[in-house]
Subunit: 210 residues, 2 copies
DNA sequence: CAAATTTTTTACCAACTGGTATAATAATAA
DNA sequence: TTATTATTATACCAGTTGGTAAAAAATTTG
């Protein structure tokens, strides 16, 4: 994978993947508006025209950085949704989140929240995009809970809307806690509190290997 | 309080209290960095030198706006802490919050969160101040729970640290939900979910000191 | 009236914002 | 070697940022 046939012109001296990683970290740390093009180019060690040639605009670079984030640091979310039972979904979701939100290699909190929770009107589009991503996340979780009801590992009485919103709310609140300085253990305590009260279906003791 | 003896010079044509209200709303909506001095002066209908004479700096204006916020829209928080039992404290806290976070007259979410969850390095001091305010809030709630244990309306086994962090986390997560577009009813459902599982002291109905 | 005082107004500042035109440079293809 | 091509580097753009100096206006005091 290192032997790439080079094109005709001057060879580019930066790797797009690596640059994206740097951009992701900056946007994750300081948000969309809080990160300037100058900071980005300096951290990437490239100059602005190169950055614009490679990514088009600041907004587009942010989009790419968010995709990089979803496919990387929080890939466990999609994995969690595929766990066997609703309980295990929530368990993996919140415990892995606890680890990720305060991981020493990462900026604190969730990028989809930190990216632009609040912003000036110039970044309104970015803010809306982040909102949609969070709504989609909640919807996916709700659908997973509906499936769990069909499969019998979640009580039919459970209000899946509220339950999904509850888990997402805790996840997002834990992001704020991470920024506030909470430790991994503290976040895990919160996760366990949610799990303690989880409305498992009483009658179906699902006997999958443990 | 309307008959103020005017000083010697030209009368100022703006009311500091009203201006602060306007500033509060702008900072609340778009955060510290997302609100420019030009937006502020235009919304207040005053020019910059007047604003600087009255409030010193953008940072100081923000401080004043936050104090205005704490004493106004979220004054119910201090009131909630004085309810009779821990259960009632949490009940008032979360239900009043649900109403406030999506009240049509207010920007969505909590100002102490929206003010500057994420920001560039120039606003780092503001961000830290908001963090401290959130930590203090959590501490106050924890102390209230300790008092509740002494008064007997909260189980001695309850982990007051985790419990306080849990309620605050839900509160902050509900702020994000408000931004995402959640309704008051949806936020109240979340609040009720927390209350359902509240660890009331089994043996004591209500008796004072131990 | 005129002096004194306080505010408003206008104009301005250097630094920074996202974004780009132009030219120099380094590779390949002929 | 000489074009051709793609990327880098330099310099620059108009607009905005937080903040201010200086003058003009409106009031009270003498």
């Amino acid at each position: 994978m290192s032997e790439i046939k080079r094109g005709r012109g001057r060879p580019s001296k930066f790797d797009a993947e690596t640059s994206l990683q740097v951009a992701m970290h900056l946007f994750w740390s300081h948000g969309y508006e809080g990160t300037s093009m100058t900071e980005l180019t300096e951290a990437m060690s490239i100059n602005k025209p190169s950055l614009y040639a490679a990514f088009g605009s600041k907004e587009n670079l942010f989009h790419k950085a968010v995709e990089h984030y979803l496919a990387g640091p929080v890939a466990f979310i999609d994995a969690a949704l595929q766990e066997k039972t609703a309980y295990e979904v929530v368990e993996k979701l919140l415990l892995d989140s606890a680890a990720c939100l305060v991981h020493p290699d990462n900026p604190k909190g969730c990028m989809v929240l930190m990216g632009s929770l609040n912003c000036g009107k110039e970044a309104e589009a970015i803010k809306q995009e982040m909102i949609v991503r969070r709504q989609d996340y909640e919807q996916a979780l709700k659908q997973r809970f509906i499936l769990a009801q069909e499969q019998g590992d979640l009580s039919q009485d459970a209000a899946v809307d509220t339950l999904a919103k509850y888990v997402v709310t805790m996840h997002q609140g834990m992001s704020v806690q991470a920024v506030n300085g909470a430790s991994r253990a503290e976040l895990e305590s919160l996760a366990n509190l949610v799990l303690q009260h989880w409305p498992v279906n009483q009658q179906s003791a699902n006997q999958t290997a443990s």
